[in-house]
């Protein structure tokens, strides 16, 4: 179905800048018709670029300076036996020099479709009906047929109940998961034979993720569609894909059957790819299932020791010390009348890392913005450092004491130099010049960006921009740092970097409130969690207490990490088995206490 042969690609540069490096350095891929093919790799590896090349957007949708194609691409791309992109290197001779002639059919639509990462930006029209009909209108189909296909497509993605009102449903009325399903429906209506999904779940909560992937799986099974899925989550890739390709530094490093892919531990580790927590534990403890590392809980049950030294039971440390934040019966109503919070209660102690969990729309970000002084509470009491924030004079000064790192780093970059960016907040605080310089240096050092002080923030990598955002708040030295979903859309290496940073912040005595969907992060780094559901707190306690209650995890639409899920499975066979929360505790237990926690 898809054949990519020796494909090289370099993005054009404009202005007086030097050439960009080659993003793709010889991609070779073959995808069979009807196959569910996975692609994974670190950020910047070339996964999205490869997908765009398969779809023909690269290069046919771009403007190449001077039409010098030889300078930007090599190789060929074929879809369903048709040349999508090719290059005649000797063509287009100008001033005696061949610039290269572009060959190929061009963009693959409607035979192929591609769902992008951001559910918001690919929703092109202002009603659900017209969004799905757009591609069909462009095909020139009769209105009656468009009507039928729209209804069918909505039904196929589980949104059939919205069909009657589709003309009046605005994108803002839909959740992220629903918008991604609409994007899939928009292509399904065009009856593609190939569907490419580029990290379609990275911006979604666990429930949204599940909705989208189940939809895709069902479509693949029922319609024998060829699916290419770019993902980071090993659980999703292993569960759904026939084969998985690893792309790194613009090349295909490996293509394997899904089960075998995650047994290549060394290569995955070298490339900074997510592995199963169980595999990491097994690798650390020297446990094997035959010759391979286990990846599933069933496999781990077969090879992990059932009887461990029961004298060591991991303990959770109860919160103690000064209470920096008291939230009692917090309520909030938006301007349009929507009540986002119905009564939230929790405390935050000095020096702890507290996770605020919940599905999208549960009110987590609303709570964070109230704590930072952006929103005024509608009801209830919030005390920050003993002061009631319902008073405007207190609220206006909250940014001094409560730092808030937003989810999207692009929303909080205001200058064109890393140094200036960190100094921006300090200037607002009217910090004297010599102290300002010292604080900026310290903050950049803390996040590992000291050598980037003169760089342009807009052109740093996403992980670096996220660190810069943390540094900008860190320099202001707030008592409390709120970090909103710092690992969303990040690859394994970036997530590890963020986690190390959080650990560093905690070790330095900072108090951190983190909003996240990453349960492994919670299990590894947070002392306590608060779970919100529909604007109320439904749980407050340690991660261990939370994840050991499967029913609670299910009703709050969360997902327990593999480490504790394995513990619970072990407990079903041996009730004295310790409840081990994360990799460190597992290794400590497996090595007889010889692994430092």
């Amino acid at each position: 179905m898809v054949r990519v042969e020796g494909f090289h690609w370099r993005y054009p540069s404009f202005g007086d800048l030097a050439e960009n490096p080659w993003t793709l350095q010889g991609i070779d891929l073959e995808i069979e018709r009807g196959e569910f093919f996975g692609i994974t790799g670190p950020s910047g590896a070339g996964k999205t670029t490869t997908c765009k090349a398969i779809m023909g957007i690269i290069p046919h949708g771009l403007k190449i300076p001077y039409r010098a194609y030889n300078h930007h691409l090599k190789g060929s791309v074929w879809v369903d036996g048709e040349l999508v992109t090719g290059l005649d290197a000797d063509g287009q001779v100008v001033d005696g020099r061949p610039l290269g002639a572009l060959l190929g059919k061009g963009i693959v639509a409607p035979k192929g479709g591609m769902v992008l990462q951001d559910p918001e930006t690919q929703f092109l029209r202002m009603s659900l009906l017209h969004e799905i009909a757009f591609g069909l209108q462009l095909l020139g189909l009769p209105a009656q047929e468009i009507e039928e296909r729209v209804r069918q497509a909505l039904a196929m993605v589980g949104l059939g109940d919205l069909a009657d009102e589709a003309a009046y449903i605005h994108p803002n009325d839909l959740s992220g998961g629903q918008k991604q399903r609409v994007a899939i429906a928009a292509f399904l209506a065009m009856r593609p034979e190939l569907l490419v999904l580029d990290e379609p779940t990275s911006d979604l909560d666990p429930q949204g993720k599940s909705e989208v992937i189940e939809t895709v799986r069902m479509l693949h099974e029922r319609h024998n569609m060829t699916v290419v899925l770019v993902e980071q989550d090993p659980e999703i890739l292993r569960r759904f894909c026939d084969r998985i390709a690893l792309i790194d530094e613009g090349r295909v490093r490996m293509v394997e059957r899904a089960d075998d892919f995650y047994r290549r531990a060394n290569l995955l580790s070298d490339c900074g790819i997510y592995r199963f927590e169980i595999s990491e534990i097994a690798a650390g403890a020297g446990i094997r299932l035959g010759d391979d590392l286990p990846t599933r809980i069933e496999e781990a049950l077969a090879c992990f020791p059932l009887n461990l030294d029961a004298s060591w039971q991991p303990q959770d440390v109860a919160p103690a010390g000064e209470v920096l934040l008291e939230v009692r019966d917090l309520r909030y109503v938006y301007e349009d009348g929507t009540q986002a919070l119905h009564g939230v209660n929790f405390d935050l102690y000095r020096g702890e890392v507290l996770a605020l969990l919940g599905a999208n729309g549960s009110g987590k970000t609303t709570v964070a913005k109230i704590l930072n002084g952006i929103y005024r509470p509608t009801g209830g009491t919030v005390r920050v450092l003993g002061q009631d924030i319902s008073r405007r004079s207190v609220r206006s000064q909250l940014p001094r004491h409560v730092g808030y790192v937003f989810q999207n780093p692009d929303h909080q970059i205001f200058t064109r130099r890393v140094w200036d960016e960190v100094a921006y907040g300090l200037k607002n605080l009217q910090v004297p010049a010599d102290e300002l310089a010292e604080r900026v240096q310290q903050a950049l050092q803390a996040v590992g960006l000291s050598d980037k002080a003169d760089e342009d923030p807009l052109f740093l990598g996403k992980g670096q921009r996220q660190r810069l955002a943390v540094a900008s708040i860190l320099a202001m030295r707030p008592e409390i740092i709120i970090v909103d979903e710092p690992t969303t859309g990040q690859d394994y290496q970036m997530v590890s970097g963020i986690m190390e940073l959080l650990e560093e912040l905690h070790a330095q005595g900072n108090t951190v409130l983190i909003i996240t969907h990453d349960m492994t992060l919670v299990a590894n780094y947070c002392q306590r969690v608060v779970v919100l559901l529909d604007g109320r707190d439904v749980f407050s306690g340690s991660p261990r207490e939370l994840f050991s209650q499967p029913e609670l995890v299910r009703t709050t639409r969360l997902c327990a990490p593999q480490a504790i899920s394995l513990s619970l499975a072990m407990r079903e066979r041996n009730e004295t088995f310790p409840l081990l929360l994360n990799k460190a505790e597992w290794l400590h237990a497996l090595k007889g206490g010889k692994y430092a926690l």
Partner: protein, 338 residues
């Protein structure tokens, strides 16, 4: 249902009108209002009737809540400013002057006076302490007026010369009527315009443009722009909040500093736009749109012209003819003496 940035009842009277009808209605009524607010022959009753009609139609559409929530702070100062402008800058004595305040005697004196000194000192001190210009000026004027009224205004004049002509604020029955009519008329024009904005959807605009045979590429441009408005507004709101989180509102700022803060918002806003435009561009290409797209199938976009449109336009045209051609003045017709 949502209309541009707001929402309106689906069964409201205006929802059944074609968007071009609504546009013509707005333009024709605006021409009529310009006639009503003429300085030489104001028609406050006519302006009030149109204002009431517009408010009634907005209320029936369920849009009044949105109007006041979104525009309250802008509407009333604008109307008050309009009225004051016509009182201050329209020295028409009419049939009788109610109040006359000389403001300028037609000559400029270079020198120094107690009044000037008090005014300058107060304004400067106020700015240094409170970082405000407007209240400093107002306070300075008031204090200077009070003090010099009590103790007189000793001054030293170095030179004096003629410049422009003497000015006085004249409040007369005539210019009050003109000022009020201008304000009501302007308000009516605003509410009439809001009728279109509040009760129309982007898809109606797209359909109307297709009926007018505007090239599809232009239609696509406009519909993409309209779709991007809500994204841009969300981004702006988040960025502004991020600025607050970085302490931008921790201290009082003057107008120039506030303007500069707004400039700094443009950096992340534009960066976000650049990243979004890549993705939106890809999404559009993937659906099959190209610069050669000419005439896609029309699908629930075009609203046919109905008899209601014809009736509304006919009544409106008649009204325009009565006012513009036959110079109907409702105030005079009703026998209201001004």
């Amino acid at each position: 249902m949502r209309s541009f940035l707001f929402s309106v009842r689906r069964d409201s009277p205006l929802a059944h009108l074609h968007v071009l009808t609504k546009l013509l209605l707005v333009l024709l009524l605006s021409v009529v209002i310009v006639r009503f607010i003429r300085t030489d022959n104001p028609d406050p009753l006519g302006a009030t009737m149109l204002l009431a009609l517009a408010v009634l139609l907005l209320a029936l559409s369920g849009a009044m809540r949105w109007v006041f929530r979104s525009y309250l702070l802008v509407l009333f100062p604008a109307l008050l400013g309009m009225a004051l402008t016509w009182v201050i800058f329209n020295p028409d004595p009419g049939s009788g002057v109610l109040w006359r305040i000389p403001v300028y005697d037609g000559r400029i004196a270079l020198g120094f006076s107690l009044r000037l000194g008090i005014f300058l000192v107060f304004a400067i001190v106020w700015y240094v302490v409170r970082k405000e210009v407007f209240w400093g000026l107002v306070g300075g004027l008031a204090l200077a007026a009070i003090v010099t009224r009590l103790v007189g205004n000793p001054s030293i004049t170095l030179a004096r010369f003629d410049f422009f002509h003497p000015l006085a604020i004249i409040v007369s029955q005539r210019n009050l009527v003109v000022a009020v009519t201008k304000a009501i008329g302007y308000g009516a024009m605003i509410f009439v315009s809001l009728l279109l904005v509040m009760t129309s959807r982007d898809i109606e605009m797209t359909g109307a443009m297709r009926q007018l045979r505007i090239p599809y590429v232009a239609i696509f441009f406009l519909s993409t722009m309209l779709r991007s408005l809500s994204m841009a507004l969300t981004d702006y709101t988040t960025i502004r909040q991020a600025q607050i989180a970085r302490g931008v509102s921790l201290r009082k700022k003057n107008s120039l500093q506030l303007i500069a803060d707004l400039a700094y918002i443009a950096v992340p806003l534009t960066a976000t736009m650049l990243r979004r435009s890549n993705e939106v561009g890809d999404a559009v290409l993937l659906r099959g749109f190209s610069m050669q797209t000419r005439n896609p199938t029309e699908f629930h976009e075009v609203h046919p012209f109905g008899w209601v449109d014809g009736v509304v336009l006919g009544v409106c045209a008649l009204f325009v003819i009565l006012v513009l051609v036959f110079r109907l003045n409702f105030t005079q017709w009703a026998g209201v003496l001004l």
